[in-house]
């Protein structure tokens, strides 16, 4: 039902064609078999289509098509369960780099856009997302700066070339680039429930140069706010693709599975649950599109819309995957079906960058209650 521009329609079509052809769920299963959580082979292909620089402006080596276009890609990535550093590097790092103005930006933004480097955001310090409670610290002066702290749920951190780390320098927020191979960095790469990568990172007296600082103070606050807003909206869009795929498989099953001599889709109890899921998917699609459009136009309701989209999608994603399993019965619980894969990826994305409760709490606070 969405009205797309010509450029956006082109992106949507190429995302569908490219991902369904070579990077479908079968490809995901093959990666899982071999324990490959990075799928680094896809990177040059994504870069060639411009996707790794989709939100990076042209003067920094990207194609600057924006977030609505990025969402069209993310939705297909979700639908196909394609493993890629699109959200971590193209969207989160891409936004952080594009919104901060520093020497590091000029070096790394083109590399990200060209797929020559993968950057991962090292933000969370606790099991729940609390971006404004940063304990990681930068101390010392000039070229004797030291970084200390601990980061968790660093998505794609296990194979990233640089980490974008949030830290405090006095009262100032800092965004800085850290080489995971540098002295004092202990990175533990982990396989998560969705067969993707996330790392924990311990930072002990890691030497930092001024040139590693992407942004500091208010500039860092602004860059981080936009980065998180973008990440929320695009992650929610990936979830939307997953939820729609789960729902489509479920509707198909209702049309074909027979019990009691009838198609189970003739049973009203199931029809109504399917229709309700459909309604929820329709309205959350609109909300997500609105959030992405708000990012593109830098409008005043970016925070509200991206948070509402993330919170709402967490609930609808859960509904889609749980209803999917339930309406499939026993076979829904098997690894052979895709539903479980959808459910696991959906759960990871629901937690990533803040769950429904986190963003609902923000909204309540913002409304003065």
């Amino acid at each position: 039902m969405e009205l797309l521009s010509e450029d956006q329609q082109l992106i949507a079509d190429s995302a569908t064609g490219f991902l369904r052809a070579g990077h479908s769920i079968a490809a995901f299963r093959a990666l899982r078999e071999t324990g490959d959580t990075a799928n680094i082979a896809i990177l040059p292909e994504l870069a060639k289509m411009g996707w790794m620089g989709i939100v990076v402006p042209e003067e920094l080596g990207g194609i600057g098509l924006g977030y609505r276009a990025a969402g069209l890609i993310a939705e297909e990535l979700g639908r196909n369960l394609t493993v890629s550093p699109f959200v971590s590097s193209a969207i989160l790092a891409g936004t952080a780099l594009s919104t901060s103005n520093s020497q590091a930006q000029k070096i790394w933004a083109p590399k990200v856009a060209a797929g020559e480097a993968v950057l991962a955001l090292a933000l969370d310090e606790t099991a729940k997302h609390r971006p404004d409670r940063v304990v990681t610290k930068v101390t010392g002066e000039a070229d004797g700066l030291k970084l200390n702290g601990r980061k968790t749920y660093v998505v794609d951190g296990g194979f990233a070339d640089r980490l974008v780390v949030t830290a405090k320098r006095g009262d100032d927020l800092c965004l800085l680039l850290v080489d995971p191979l540098a002295a004092g960095v202990t990175l533990t790469s982990q396989v998560m429930l969705d067969s993707r990568n996330a790392a924990t990172v311990v930072l002990e007296d890691v030497a930092v140069r001024d040139a590693d600082i992407l942004a500091q103070g208010q500039a860092a606050e602004r860059a981080l706010a936009k980065t998180l807003a973008a990440g929320r909206a695009v992650a929610a869009t990936e979830q939307l693709g997953i939820a729609k795929a789960a729902a489509d498989q479920t509707y198909d099953y209702l049309r074909t599975r027979k019990q009691f001599g009838v198609h189970i889709g003739q049973l009203q109890a199931l029809q109504h649950r399917a229709a309700e899921l459909y309604c929820e998917l329709a309205q959350v699609s609109s909300l997500i599109a609105a959030a992405l459009n708000a990012l593109d136009s830098d409008s005043a309701d970016v925070e509200t819309l991206t948070r509402a989209a993330k919170a709402k999608m967490a609930r609808v994603g859960q509904q889609a995957t749980e209803e999917g399993v339930q309406m499939h019965g026993g076979i829904g619980m098997t690894d052979e079906m895709d539903l479980g894969l959808f459910m696991k990826r959906d759960r990871a994305l629901a937690e990533f960058l803040g769950d429904a409760g986190h963003h609902t709490e923000w909204l309540l606070r913002q409304r003065g209650i």
């Binding site: 969405e2 609109s286 209650i369």
Partner: protein, 392 residues
């Protein structure tokens, strides 16, 4: 005209022509329904209708030839935005605008359009909807009111029920079985007639909110001239369903002034207060409010997208059921939260303290939302078949 010029001219015109009294929040009693017997609440209300109707802006999307504004989709959006900007009230609301008009535009003859549509646009004739019968609710096509062809007339006999504002309406659009030998869905015709015709009577029914907005409506050999049929004989069901999609869009969008607009969060804070951490001093209600607010933002975004889609020239069709289902279920939650936030203060039924129990009355009224225009269950059934193509 380019859209920016249209905006500035519209803004200036509204500034000059919208009376100050028509820029204040309104309640159900302030709705201008129009019609032969309508009593305007103020000279300003009458004036506002007059000037808006003269521009065709009571029905901005309709062609000018039929009393409309002939505005493009973008212009309609600008007009709505500019009216919201100054809190201008809708000059006219009616079943003619929401329901009959779109059906006539689609299925009426040229003569019917030229006759009936301008009367609706100017608020001269108020219409009611004769669909439901005591034995035909969700199963509407099972209706039994009959129309017998006597050569010059259809002679209509039977009973309708839940006919909103039948006692105040001038004309009725009515579903009547004219082809008794045809099957259920193909034996129905869509007739228009004057409520002052001989043989029409109404009996108001009292609602749980205390108001009596709807009626039982009886027809005893009412003579309806044969040119007052819309479409062909036996085509009534198709027209009826088309009209329902527009009714459902309207109910779903809660586009009417049936419910007072108020800020739930603010209402809750002023009624309950904050705790020492600055949160609403009622954690469970606060959590419910949180979920509601997220859903409200979501549905508003959906309405916005859907509006853009329709302004681009698409019809929603069966998807009107999706708006109706989501919008009405959400409004029920909204009204429940409002009454919960007010506590016992909002339970006072008579007196001036709380606007004579308006919140409680709205709460009760909202329960009808998921019934009128087709129940939520029926909406889900429509979607499962028409959109999801699940087996019947």
């Amino acid at each position: 005209m380019d859209i920016d010029t249209f905006r500035s001219e519209t803004r200036a015109w509204l500034e000059a022509n919208c009376p100050a009294e028509m820029r204040t929040p309104m309640g159900e009693d302030d709705i201008c329904w129009g019609g032969r017997t309508f009593e305007f609440r103020s000279p300003a209300q009458k004036q506002w209708l007059k000037v808006m109707a003269a521009k065709g802006w009571t029905v901005p999307a309709w062609p000018k030839a039929y009393g409309g504004g002939g505005l493009t989709g973008d212009e309609q959006k600008v007009l709505t935005e500019e009216m919201h900007r100054i809190n201008a009230r809708p000059p006219l609301q009616s079943f003619g605008i929401w329901m009959l008009g779109p059906a006539l535009l689609q299925f009426g003859t040229e003569a019917q359009k030229r006759h009936y549509l301008p009367q609706i646009a100017r608020g001269e004739i108020r219409w009611c909807q004769g669909y439901s019968e005591p034995c035909a609710g969700s199963d509407l096509a099972g209706l039994q009111t009959k129309g017998v062809d006597t050569g010059v007339h259809f002679e209509v006999t039977g009973q309708k029920i839940w006919t909103s504002y039948a006692d105040q309406a001038d004309w009725i659009f009515c579903l009547v079985r004219t082809e008794p030998d045809e099957r259920k869905h193909t034996g129905i015709s869509f007739l228009l007639f004057d409520m002052q015709s001989d043989g029409v009577s109404t009996k108001p029914i009292k609602l749980i909110s205390g108001a009596s907005p709807f009626c039982e409506t009886f027809f005893d050999a009412v003579k309806v001239p044969k040119d007052q049929i819309v479409g062909e004989r036996g085509q009534g069901w198709t027209i009826a369903k088309y009209l329902l999609t527009h009714e459902r869009e309207m109910i779903g969008a809660s586009d009417s002034a049936l419910f007072a607009k108020s800020d739930l969060a603010e209402d809750a804070v002023s009624a309950i207060g904050l705790d020492e951490t600055g949160r609403l001093d009622d954690p469970m209600l606060r959590a419910d409010l949180g979920q509601f607010l997220i859903d409200e933002i979501c549905f508003d975004a959906h309405l916005e997208m859907t509006g853009a889609y329709m302004r681009a020239g698409h019809e929603l069709g069966a998807r009107s059921a999706e708006l109706k289902y989501l919008g009405t279920e959400l409004n029920k939650r909204r009204q429940s939260l409002r009454v919960a936030a007010g506590g016992s203060d909002d339970l006072v039924w008579e007196g001036t303290a709380n606007d004579a129990g308006q919140v409680a009355k709205d709460w009760l009224r909202s329960k009808a939302n998921t019934i009128e225009g087709g129940t939520s269950e029926v909406m889900l059934s429509i979607l499962s078949k028409a959109v999801l193509k699940l087996p019947g």
